[in-house]
Amino acid sequence: MLQRFAASVWKGRWAYFFIAPAMIPFAIFTVYPLAQGLLLSFYKAGVNRDKWTYIGIKNYTNLLTRDPVFPTAIKNTFLFVLGVVPAAMVICLFVAVLIYPLSQRKQTFFRAAFYMPVVSAGVVLAMVWVYIYSQEYGLLNYLFESLGLLDLLNDGEKIGWLAQTNTALLSLAIVVLSWSLGQPLILFLAGLGAIPEPLYDAAKIDGANSWQSFWKITLPLLRPTMLFVLVVLTIAVFQVFVVVQLMTLGGPANATQTIVYRIWVTGIVGSKFGYGSAMAVVLLSIVSVVAIVQFKLLDRQLT
């Protein structure tokens, strides 16, 4: 058995040699911390390593049955994902289809414009949005006031976009959405470029209009790209943190608590490393299940 294994390794030695530069850092910086995190989630672990105690699944039972904030964080995170991911997919697809026929120069302008938030510092963007949403001096309230919308929506009173529980999560979701568009757009444009032009020509000859071409050619052939974008975006939005940390600190009244923010507050700021690791493992499990479901569903349609 061992000999056969050794022989197979020896046979593929060059392959192992060439993937080693990628796999060794991956093992050290990803697999090892992941395993450590998993192990830590079964410990009561604070700042004193000598006092770390194995407590079995107590962190998990506390998390799922006693923690008063974690269920809210899970709910809010799902709301983020359900709001941001479909919206980003639809907007990006729409914009990509719209700008794809344009000249290369115009396309480049739109690519750059949409990609700008991706390469900008999250802190700076968050600060800009804080000013946009400011109740007293914010641009959004100014705009709403100018258009007479404040009278319609809030009896003429300025709206505390980040101060009210019914608007805070939506306000943050819009911020996350604004900087989630760049990458999907580039990918959709690349996907559109890979669709053979003769297919559209043939459809045109057969009398198909633009709408029919989109549904029957563009959309089916973009499915692999859509699957990739969907999975990557879902994983990214599940990890929403910066906007919460910089704009609301999880408030008001826990309305914007998310799982990663709870991990930060409990695991790092509160120095409960074991408990924080249990939260991280729960997040990993949720993201894995969602990604697998997405793969299964869309993969089935691909084949």
């Binding site: 009561k44 700042v47 506390n62 101060a163 009210q164 609301t248 008001p252 790092i268 509160g270 120095s271």
Partner: protein, 439 residues
């Protein structure tokens, strides 16, 4: 014989040469500091984080050339994250200067050195006894207190005078009842001089909690009991909370308190939108003083220190919060610990404490430091108020202090937004605190 004499002479020379060399074995000490002295008032040459502390370290190194001190300055948010992570990684500093609310957690976890065994009794005896008691956890002095801030109310009396309401500010005894405070706040708001929210507050983060807790203490309630259980089930805590909620619901507190930051509070005071703010000598001298000097204050300003409003028959004390030096247990040799202790005492000497407190308007922990800002009327007044009325229990040395602290703002926010009644907020907090303290 001559050979023997020569040999003995050589050996004696070697002993003479080597003895000091052994005593001068190099030592490296790591010292991490909070940003409390990032911009000392009387030392304007130091404008950056840890510049002052680096200068101190250079002085110490000049006196002891074999010692190398590596200084690192940490911002307030970093203190809560970098230090615990470094501890878990086994790489803490030798000495840390930080607030008791955080160092106590390290003391409870048993990662600090017991300073009773490192510092002489003479040095301990010079520290204020109340502080020594506060810093003693399980019989060990987990850190050495250096100075403490106070918390009271700062009233811009100029605005009350402008509205013809100057008599409503209790400048005689510096104390007002809840009813007197309410009447004054209502009157200044109605006076039509631009005071939209008489009292400015923030409950977006735990950083504003003393501005909030002081109302609870005023009503005779508690956040922490003396035995380190929480006081959320105390009826007087509820009374205090109902009073704050009433102030907010009646527009006497800024409507954006649920998201406001400290800078917004200061801005409200500086622009006259508010006339009252919580704070101590640091806010009074450093923030307001600098604001007036730099032209940030756009209204007449006559800041007056008063205590928070009190309920019928209640005599609340003032909130005070000490900072100290903790030494982490890194398994250093006795020789290295000797030099760490030497540097600790250098950092916390009487002279150093005077310099600190002169520059951040706090109060020294050493009796020998006296009253460094005795010429400052408000400083002397505040000190007398602390002596007369005592201090409130902030629970700083209680296990779970910080987590209970950060669990509170969401419930204060929910109460202000009408999603929880004061009673419900306290019930929820009680359950959360039980969970936190039980973990």
């Amino acid at each position: 014989m001559k050979r023997l004499q020569l040999l003995l002479a050589l050996m004696a020379m070697l002993v003479v040469l080597l003895a000091p060399a052994q005593a001068q074995e190099p030592v490296t000490i790591t010292y991490w500091t909070d940003p409390a002295l990032a911009q000392p008032i009387s030392l304007p040459q130091f404008t950056e984080l840890a510049a002052f502390e680096n200068w101190q370290a250079e002085q110490f190194m000049a006196m002891h050339p074999h010692v190398t001190v590596e200084v690192r300055g940490l911002d307030w948010p970093d203190l809560a994250t970098v230090v615990p992570t470094a501890l878990a990684a086994g790489e803490p500093p030798d000495i840390l200067k930080d607030y008791l609310g955080r160092t106590s957690g390290y003391g409870v976890e048993g990662v600090t050195v017991d300073l009773f065994s490192l510092v002489s009794q003479e040095e301990i005896d010079d520290l204020l006894p109340g502080l020594v008691e506060l810093y003693t956890i399980d019989g060990a002095l987990h850190a050495m207190p250096t100075y403490f801030w106070n918390h009271a109310m700062i009233v811009n009396k100029a605005l009350f005078d402008q509205a013809g309401l100057g008599d409503m500010v209790p400048v005689d005894d510096r104390a007002w009842s809840m009813d007197e405070f309410y009447q004054a706040a209502t009157a200044i708001k109605a006076a039509g001089i631009g005071v939209d929210f008489p009292y400015t507050l923030q409950v977006a983060s735990e950083q504003g909690d003393y501005d909030f807790h002081a109302f609870i203490w005023g009503a005779g309630g508690e956040i922490w009991n003396a035995d380190c259980t929480t006081g959320f089930d105390n009826p007087k805590t509820l009374a205090g909370l109902e009073f704050v909620n009433q102030l907010y619901q009646e527009g006497l507190i800024n409507s954006d308190a649920t998201t406001a930051a400290y800078a917004d509070q200061v801005n409200n005071l500086f622009t006259g939108k508010s006339a009252i703010m919580g704070g101590g000598m640091g806010v009074l001298n450093n923030r307001i003083g600098n604001g007036m000097r730099d032209g940030e204050v756009t209204v007449d300003m006559d800041p007056v220190v008063v205590t928070y409003p009190h309920g019928e028959g209640e005599a609340p004390g003032l909130g005070v919060g000490p900072t100290g030096f903790a030494v982490f247990d890194k398994g250093r040799s006795a020789y290295e610990m000797e030099w760490i202790a030497e540097f600790l005492l250098f950092l916390n000497s009487t002279e150093a404490q005077i310099t600190y407190t002169q520059n951040n308007s706090q109060f020294p922990a050493r009796a020998s430091a006296g009253v460094p800002l005795a010429d400052d009327a408000n400083y002397a007044l505040t000190l007398s108020l602390i002596q007369e009325r005592g201090t409130e229990n902030l629970g700083l040395a209680c296990p779970g202090f910080y987590e209970v602290r950060i669990s509170q703002p969401p419930h204060w926010q929910a109460m202000f937004l009408g999603q929880e009644t004061p009673q419900q907020a306290l019930e929820a907090l009680n359950a959360e605190a039980e969970f936190i303290l039980d973990m």
